[in-house]
Symmetry: C2
Subunit: 139 residues, 2 copies
Protein backbone atom coordinates (compact mmCIF):
# COMPACT_ATOMS: atom_id res chain seq x y z
CA UNK A 1 0.00 0.00 0.00
CA UNK A 2 1.77 3.05 -1.25
CA UNK A 3 0.71 6.64 -0.88
CA UNK A 4 -0.39 6.88 -4.49
CA UNK A 5 -2.70 3.89 -4.25
CA UNK A 6 -4.16 5.19 -1.05
CA UNK A 7 -4.95 8.49 -2.76
CA UNK A 8 -6.46 6.86 -5.83
CA UNK A 9 -8.54 4.50 -3.71
CA UNK A 10 -9.73 7.51 -1.75
CA UNK A 11 -10.76 9.39 -4.86
CA UNK A 12 -12.62 6.34 -6.09
CA UNK A 13 -14.55 5.69 -2.92
CA UNK A 14 -15.43 9.37 -2.64
CA UNK A 15 -16.77 9.43 -6.19
CA UNK A 16 -20.47 8.93 -6.63
CA UNK A 17 -20.29 9.36 -10.40
CA UNK A 18 -18.48 7.45 -13.15
CA UNK A 19 -15.13 9.12 -13.76
CA UNK A 20 -12.77 8.15 -16.54
CA UNK A 21 -9.04 7.81 -16.02
CA UNK A 22 -8.31 11.40 -16.94
CA UNK A 23 -10.82 12.63 -14.40
CA UNK A 24 -9.45 10.30 -11.74
CA UNK A 25 -5.99 11.58 -12.50
CA UNK A 26 -7.20 15.16 -12.17
CA UNK A 27 -8.85 14.51 -8.83
CA UNK A 28 -5.93 12.52 -7.50
CA UNK A 29 -3.48 15.21 -8.56
CA UNK A 30 -5.21 17.69 -6.31
CA UNK A 31 -4.50 15.48 -3.31
CA UNK A 32 -1.01 14.51 -4.38
CA UNK A 33 0.53 16.28 -7.32
CA UNK A 34 3.27 13.74 -7.94
CA UNK A 35 0.95 10.99 -9.17
CA UNK A 36 1.27 10.01 -12.83
CA UNK A 37 -1.43 8.86 -15.26
CA UNK A 38 0.39 5.58 -15.70
CA UNK A 39 -0.11 4.84 -12.03
CA UNK A 40 -3.80 5.62 -12.29
CA UNK A 41 -4.10 3.19 -15.18
CA UNK A 42 -2.15 0.56 -13.31
CA UNK A 43 -4.21 1.03 -10.17
CA UNK A 44 -7.62 0.85 -11.80
CA UNK A 45 -6.56 -2.28 -13.62
CA UNK A 46 -5.43 -3.78 -10.35
CA UNK A 47 -8.62 -2.85 -8.56
CA UNK A 48 -10.72 -4.15 -11.39
CA UNK A 49 -8.94 -7.49 -11.28
CA UNK A 50 -9.58 -7.67 -7.57
CA UNK A 51 -13.27 -7.01 -8.18
CA UNK A 52 -13.25 -3.75 -6.23
CA UNK A 53 -13.94 -1.64 -9.29
CA UNK A 54 -16.00 -2.12 -12.41
CA UNK A 55 -15.14 -0.79 -15.78
CA UNK A 56 -17.93 0.71 -17.85
CA UNK A 57 -18.14 1.79 -21.43
CA UNK A 58 -20.71 4.47 -22.06
CA UNK A 59 -19.41 5.27 -25.51
CA UNK A 60 -17.03 8.09 -26.27
CA UNK A 61 -13.97 5.88 -26.34
CA UNK A 62 -12.80 6.03 -22.75
CA UNK A 63 -13.42 3.56 -19.99
CA UNK A 64 -15.22 4.78 -16.91
CA UNK A 65 -15.18 3.33 -13.44
CA UNK A 66 -17.36 2.84 -10.44
CA UNK A 67 -17.03 0.94 -7.19
CA UNK A 68 -18.47 -2.55 -7.21
CA UNK A 69 -21.70 -2.76 -5.28
CA UNK A 70 -22.30 -6.05 -3.62
CA UNK A 71 -25.95 -6.85 -3.43
CA UNK A 72 -28.45 -4.86 -5.44
CA UNK A 73 -27.37 -4.22 -9.01
CA UNK A 74 -28.11 -1.10 -10.95
CA UNK A 75 -27.99 -0.14 -14.61
CA UNK A 76 -27.43 3.07 -16.53
CA UNK A 77 -29.47 5.34 -18.68
CA UNK A 78 -27.35 7.75 -20.71
CA UNK A 79 -28.84 11.05 -21.80
CA UNK A 80 -27.85 11.18 -25.44
CA UNK A 81 -27.91 14.97 -25.48
CA UNK A 82 -25.41 15.65 -22.74
CA UNK A 83 -23.84 12.34 -21.77
CA UNK A 84 -25.19 12.46 -18.22
CA UNK A 85 -25.72 9.10 -16.59
CA UNK A 86 -28.76 8.19 -14.55
CA UNK A 87 -28.71 4.99 -12.53
CA UNK A 88 -31.73 2.79 -12.19
CA UNK A 89 -32.64 -0.57 -10.74
CA UNK A 90 -34.63 -3.31 -12.30
CA UNK A 91 -35.20 -6.21 -10.02
CA UNK A 92 -36.38 -8.77 -12.52
CA UNK A 93 -33.73 -8.07 -15.06
CA UNK A 94 -30.82 -10.21 -14.04
CA UNK A 95 -33.05 -13.16 -13.26
CA UNK A 96 -34.56 -12.84 -16.72
CA UNK A 97 -31.10 -12.86 -18.30
CA UNK A 98 -30.01 -15.82 -16.23
CA UNK A 99 -32.90 -17.76 -17.66
CA UNK A 100 -31.98 -16.69 -21.20
CA UNK A 101 -28.40 -17.85 -20.72
CA UNK A 102 -29.60 -21.14 -19.29
CA UNK A 103 -31.97 -21.68 -22.19
CA UNK A 104 -28.98 -21.29 -24.53
CA UNK A 105 -26.87 -23.74 -22.58
CA UNK A 106 -24.67 -21.24 -20.79
CA UNK A 107 -23.91 -20.31 -17.24
CA UNK A 108 -24.54 -16.64 -16.67
CA UNK A 109 -21.30 -14.78 -16.03
CA UNK A 110 -22.24 -11.13 -16.36
CA UNK A 111 -24.23 -8.76 -18.46
CA UNK A 112 -24.07 -5.28 -19.80
CA UNK A 113 -27.11 -3.13 -20.17
CA UNK A 114 -27.26 0.49 -21.15
CA UNK A 115 -30.26 2.51 -22.04
CA UNK A 116 -29.96 5.63 -24.17
CA UNK A 117 -32.68 8.22 -23.95
CA UNK A 118 -33.61 11.80 -24.45
CA UNK A 119 -35.18 13.90 -21.76
CA UNK A 120 -38.90 14.19 -22.26
CA UNK A 121 -39.79 17.88 -22.17
CA UNK A 122 -43.17 19.59 -22.14
CA UNK A 123 -42.54 21.51 -25.34
CA UNK A 124 -40.76 18.74 -27.28
CA UNK A 125 -38.42 21.33 -28.78
CA UNK A 126 -38.24 20.24 -32.40
CA UNK A 127 -34.71 21.56 -32.77
CA UNK A 128 -32.94 21.04 -29.48
CA UNK A 129 -29.40 22.51 -29.20
CA UNK A 130 -27.54 19.25 -29.75
CA UNK A 131 -24.13 19.72 -28.08
CA UNK A 132 -22.55 18.60 -31.36
CA UNK A 133 -20.03 15.78 -31.63
CA UNK A 134 -17.92 13.98 -29.11
CA UNK A 135 -17.71 15.96 -25.90
CA UNK A 136 -19.71 13.90 -23.41
CA UNK A 137 -20.11 15.48 -19.97
CA UNK A 138 -19.16 13.78 -16.75
CA UNK A 139 -21.21 11.87 -14.17
Amino acid sequence: MTGQRRVIARVLSDADDHPDVEELYRRASVLDSRISVATVYRTVRLLEEKGILERRDFGGGRARYEATEHGRHHYHLIDVDNGKVIEFEDQEHEELMRRVAERLGFDFVSMRLELFGRKRTVQQEAKAPQPSKRKGAAS
Copy 2:
Protein backbone atom coordinates in the same frame (compact mmCIF):
# COMPACT_ATOMS: atom_id res chain seq x y z
CA MET B 1 -20.61 3.76 -56.15
CA THR B 2 -17.01 2.80 -56.62
CA GLY B 3 -15.55 -0.66 -56.98
CA GLN B 4 -14.21 -0.64 -53.44
CA ARG B 5 -17.55 0.15 -51.88
CA ARG B 6 -19.22 -2.50 -53.90
CA VAL B 7 -16.73 -5.07 -52.65
CA ILE B 8 -17.05 -3.99 -49.04
CA ALA B 9 -20.84 -3.96 -49.22
CA ARG B 10 -20.67 -7.43 -50.70
CA VAL B 11 -18.49 -8.73 -47.90
CA LEU B 12 -20.84 -7.22 -45.36
CA SER B 13 -24.01 -8.65 -46.78
CA ASP B 14 -22.37 -12.05 -47.15
CA ALA B 15 -21.26 -12.04 -43.53
CA ASP B 16 -23.52 -13.74 -41.04
CA ASP B 17 -21.18 -13.07 -38.16
CA HIS B 18 -19.87 -9.87 -36.54
CA PRO B 19 -16.58 -9.00 -38.17
CA ASP B 20 -14.35 -6.18 -37.02
CA VAL B 21 -12.66 -3.81 -39.44
CA GLU B 22 -9.52 -5.88 -39.70
CA GLU B 23 -11.54 -8.93 -40.60
CA LEU B 24 -13.58 -6.99 -43.16
CA TYR B 25 -10.37 -5.70 -44.64
CA ARG B 26 -9.01 -9.22 -44.85
CA ARG B 27 -12.13 -10.55 -46.58
CA ALA B 28 -12.35 -7.60 -48.93
CA SER B 29 -8.69 -7.91 -49.86
CA VAL B 30 -9.31 -11.38 -51.18
CA LEU B 31 -11.83 -10.01 -53.67
CA ASP B 32 -9.85 -6.90 -54.54
CA SER B 33 -6.31 -6.62 -53.27
CA ARG B 34 -6.00 -2.89 -53.80
CA ILE B 35 -8.43 -1.89 -51.05
CA SER B 36 -6.97 -0.07 -48.06
CA VAL B 37 -7.99 -0.22 -44.40
CA ALA B 38 -8.76 3.48 -44.48
CA THR B 39 -11.43 2.84 -47.07
CA VAL B 40 -12.93 0.10 -44.96
CA TYR B 41 -13.11 2.46 -42.00
CA ARG B 42 -14.63 5.17 -44.15
CA THR B 43 -17.15 2.82 -45.67
CA VAL B 44 -18.39 1.31 -42.44
CA ARG B 45 -18.79 4.76 -40.98
CA LEU B 46 -20.78 5.81 -44.01
CA LEU B 47 -22.98 2.75 -43.90
CA GLU B 48 -23.52 3.17 -40.19
CA GLU B 49 -24.63 6.77 -40.69
CA LYS B 50 -27.06 5.61 -43.32
CA GLY B 51 -28.47 3.06 -40.91
CA ILE B 52 -27.45 0.11 -43.06
CA LEU B 53 -24.91 -1.17 -40.59
CA GLU B 54 -24.75 -1.29 -36.82
CA ARG B 55 -21.64 -0.96 -34.78
CA ARG B 56 -21.26 -3.28 -31.80
CA ASP B 57 -18.83 -3.39 -28.95
CA PHE B 58 -18.30 -6.83 -27.52
CA GLY B 59 -15.22 -5.84 -25.59
CA GLY B 60 -11.71 -6.37 -26.80
CA GLY B 61 -11.29 -2.83 -27.97
CA ARG B 62 -12.41 -3.11 -31.56
CA ALA B 63 -15.75 -2.24 -33.05
CA ARG B 64 -17.66 -4.98 -34.79
CA TYR B 65 -20.37 -4.70 -37.37
CA GLU B 66 -23.51 -6.36 -38.53
CA ALA B 67 -26.22 -5.50 -41.01
CA THR B 68 -29.22 -3.70 -39.57
CA GLU B 69 -32.23 -5.93 -39.30
CA HIS B 70 -35.49 -4.19 -39.71
CA GLY B 71 -38.17 -5.78 -37.66
CA ARG B 72 -37.37 -8.26 -34.91
CA HIS B 73 -34.44 -7.25 -32.73
CA HIS B 74 -31.90 -9.63 -31.37
CA TYR B 75 -29.26 -9.49 -28.68
CA HIS B 76 -25.91 -11.15 -28.12
CA LEU B 77 -24.48 -13.64 -25.72
CA ILE B 78 -20.68 -13.69 -25.75
CA ASP B 79 -18.90 -16.86 -24.73
CA VAL B 80 -16.27 -15.54 -22.35
CA ASP B 81 -13.96 -18.46 -23.06
CA ASN B 82 -13.59 -18.05 -26.79
CA GLY B 83 -15.30 -14.80 -27.77
CA LYS B 84 -17.90 -16.52 -29.91
CA VAL B 85 -21.17 -14.67 -30.23
CA ILE B 86 -24.59 -16.30 -30.02
CA GLU B 87 -27.62 -14.29 -31.02
CA PHE B 88 -30.89 -14.53 -29.18
CA GLU B 89 -34.24 -12.85 -29.15
CA ASP B 90 -36.22 -11.60 -26.23
CA GLN B 91 -39.58 -10.27 -27.18
CA GLU B 92 -40.48 -8.50 -23.98
CA HIS B 93 -37.18 -6.83 -23.51
CA GLU B 94 -37.38 -3.63 -25.44
CA GLU B 95 -40.89 -2.93 -24.20
CA LEU B 96 -39.63 -3.36 -20.65
CA MET B 97 -36.83 -0.90 -21.25
CA ARG B 98 -39.16 1.60 -22.85
CA ARG B 99 -41.19 1.59 -19.69
CA VAL B 100 -38.08 2.09 -17.56
CA ALA B 101 -37.05 5.11 -19.64
CA GLU B 102 -40.52 6.53 -19.41
CA ARG B 103 -40.60 6.10 -15.67
CA LEU B 104 -37.38 8.14 -15.49
CA GLY B 105 -38.76 10.90 -17.67
CA PHE B 106 -36.96 9.98 -20.87
CA ASP B 107 -37.91 9.01 -24.35
CA PHE B 108 -36.35 5.72 -25.30
CA VAL B 109 -33.72 6.17 -28.00
CA SER B 110 -31.86 2.88 -28.04
CA MET B 111 -30.37 0.28 -25.79
CA ARG B 112 -27.42 -1.96 -25.55
CA LEU B 113 -27.56 -5.40 -24.05
CA GLU B 114 -24.89 -8.01 -23.94
CA LEU B 115 -24.85 -11.20 -22.00
CA PHE B 116 -21.60 -12.91 -21.08
CA GLY B 117 -21.66 -16.57 -20.30
CA ARG B 118 -19.72 -19.77 -20.13
CA LYS B 119 -20.77 -22.93 -21.87
CA ARG B 120 -22.45 -25.30 -19.48
CA THR B 121 -20.78 -28.68 -19.88
CA VAL B 122 -21.67 -32.06 -18.44
CA GLN B 123 -18.41 -32.49 -16.58
CA GLN B 124 -17.99 -28.88 -15.40
CA GLU B 125 -14.25 -29.09 -16.04
CA ALA B 126 -12.84 -27.34 -13.01
CA LYS B 127 -9.81 -26.16 -14.94
CA ALA B 128 -10.95 -25.42 -18.47
CA PRO B 129 -8.21 -24.47 -20.95
CA GLN B 130 -8.83 -20.70 -20.84
CA PRO B 131 -7.52 -19.32 -24.15
CA SER B 132 -5.58 -16.73 -22.15
CA LYS B 133 -5.88 -12.98 -22.52
CA ARG B 134 -7.18 -10.80 -25.32
CA LYS B 135 -7.50 -12.83 -28.50
CA GLY B 136 -11.22 -13.09 -29.05
CA ALA B 137 -12.22 -15.35 -31.92
CA ALA B 138 -14.51 -14.26 -34.72
CA SER B 139 -18.25 -14.67 -35.23
